[in-house]
Amino acid sequence: MISVRYNNFIFILLIIILLTAVVIAGSLGSARISFTDVVKIIIHPIASQIEGIKETSRTIIWKIRLPRIMLTIITGMGLGVSGAVFQGIFRNPMANPYILGISSGAAFGVTLGMVMGLQITFLGMTAIPISAFTGAIIASILVFLISGGGRDILPLLLSGIAMGFFLSALMSLLMYFNRSQLENIIYWTMGSFNAANWKKVVITTPVILTGNVFLILFSRDLNLMVMGEDSAKSLGLSVKRSRLIFLIVSTIITASAVAVSGVIGFVGLIVPHAIRIITGPDHRSLIPYSMLGGAILLLVADTIARTIIAPTEIPVGIVTSLLGAPFFLFLLNRMRQPK
């Protein structure tokens, strides 16, 4: 068995990688800021004068880069963990957080909001995140009800796929008749953090972090769940109740992540996979490590997205898909090979 010591080592290693990535991401951009300055600025947020550091650097870090980094991290945590949970619930290592129509629900919500010229704000959130979150939650609830309350896995999965197609068709229809909004809608679905701000960080962090802590506490139940429904029951798990709780919590996490970032693909799929290769399938380690892994992957991807052809920025969803799709094929190939 994989030892506790090895697991702790991996955990510390992931935290070090994440902190390093934060410093590098803070340093890179149109204005280069040295690594040491980034560290000093982050460590001394209040002190107005730090020896030899320009006020503009402080402003860039605290007003522009850090909120974006934090939002990227929290979104990555959410997607990584809910990916691991969905794969466990569906007993399928190829499942992902968007499987129940969350992404298409969010995209449809955003499309509808833009077409109608929705101008609402709630808790400091603008129309786009609100309509994305609402669309995602409504779509998931509908999928859940249509499939008979999630009693069985297969109807849930198939209803999710059908809902995805249906909402995509509706969305295309809306876009077809409202071509002026076409560009905005398509950009949103590609996923991006260029509209990151502290407000979004403050709203999403408690939701996603609370959800993640909850999922970590219940992670052992997922080990039983992947044994199959009958085996899990005979090992003492109330499968339907547990599954419902996992579905609700991970749906809220995913919807919050999508609301502030758009549809970022592959993070929820490949992060739990990569973690399983390193530390095995035990969800008690898989869930917390997927949290860190998701944060690292998305932060790296977003830093690439905004710097690789600077000053132009490419949507981060394109970067994760470009990295993720080949990795997915590699995993498929690996699974097909004889032991």
């Binding site: 068995m1 007993r91 399928n92 290592p93 506490l217 219940f218 052992r220 080990n223 039983l224 992947v226 044994m227 199959g228 009958d230 085996s231 029951k233 005979s234 090992l235 003492g236 798990l237 109330s238 399983r276 095995g280 399938p281 035990d282 699974m335 032991k339």
Partner: protein, 262 residues
């Protein structure tokens, strides 16, 4: 006390989409016995086993476990009394044998507990009993069918149950692995005075290993009792339309069924 049935079933009915799968089943099973459930395909054997495990919920008071309605037990409480070995436990997730076996301790662990040294000791014992201790660090996706089934039996033992329920535990295995599994189960039954209920396909396995048999057909119990009372030429002709003779297996001294091939 010792003669009270550990499983007491009274007028159990079960329907699936309007079709009666179990029709007024009544039976009882004494502790420490090895009971076989036999019958043709579709007779309701697996359904009966699943109701005994509350995987399919029976009507109130139709199944008593240790004199209490099975529906009065929480899943966790029941998991400390009954353990289940399904037909197949194939899985895409790369758990090690030890991780799988330790899951048998789940009903004993609180929300924030990790497995203690005692739990690990029980799992080690179970793996030794079923001969998979040497495989404890192997991934279950690399095991043979027989090794996987012995791992699952070890997990069931780790639950320290009074009742071990097996659903055709040998149906996907080669003959020597079939015998190996059933012999392990029989010796455990003796050593730990476990109550065994097994859905079996092979009638000669039932004759060799079981103390009691229930023969099901169309959801009803056709007959029950000791192997020599249940497996008779008349009954086999009636249920399986098979011409048989019962003889004695010269190697074990137990009953053995031979049949024609017309």
């Amino acid at each position: 006390m010792i003669n009270n049935p550990i499983i007491d079933i009274n007028n159990l009915n079960w329907s699936y989409n309007g079709t009666k799968v179990l029709d007024n089943i009544s039976l009882n099973i004494k502790p420490g016995t090895f009971t076989g459930i036999l019958g043709p395909n579709g007779a309701g054997k697996t359904t009966l086993l699943k109701t005994i495990l509350n995987l399919l919920q029976p009507d109130r008071n139709s199944i008593l476990i240790s004199n209490d309605d099975i529906r009065n037990y929480s899943r966790n409480e029941l998991a400390k009394i009954e353990a289940y070995v399904p037909q197949s436990s194939k899985n895409n997730f790369n758990f090690t044998v030890e991780q799988i076996v330790l899951m048998g301790r789940s009903p004993f662990l609180g929300r924030f507990d990790r497995e203690s040294n005692d739990d690990i000791g029980i799992a080690d014992w179970a793996m030794k009993e079923t001969g998979v201790f040497g495989l404890k660090n192997k991934y279950i996706t690399t095991l043979s069918g027989g090794e996987l089934q012995r791992t699952i039996i070890a997990r069931a033992l780790t639950q320290e149950p009074a009742i071990l329920a097996l659903d055709e535990p040998t149906s996907h295995l080669d003959i020597h692995h079939q015998i190996n599994i059933l012999s392990i189960v029989r010796s455990l039954a003796k050593k730990k005075s476990l109550t065994i209920i097994a859905v079996l396909h092979d009638i000669n396995h039932a004759l060799e290993y079981c103390d009691n048999l229930f023969l099901l057909n169309h959801g009803k119990i056709v007959t029950h009792g000791s192997p020599e009372d249940v497996i008779t030429p008349d009954i086999m002709k009636k249920i399986y339309n098979l011409n048989i003779q019962i003889t004695t297996n010269p190697l074990t001294g137990n009953l053995f069924m031979i049949h024609d091939y017309t």
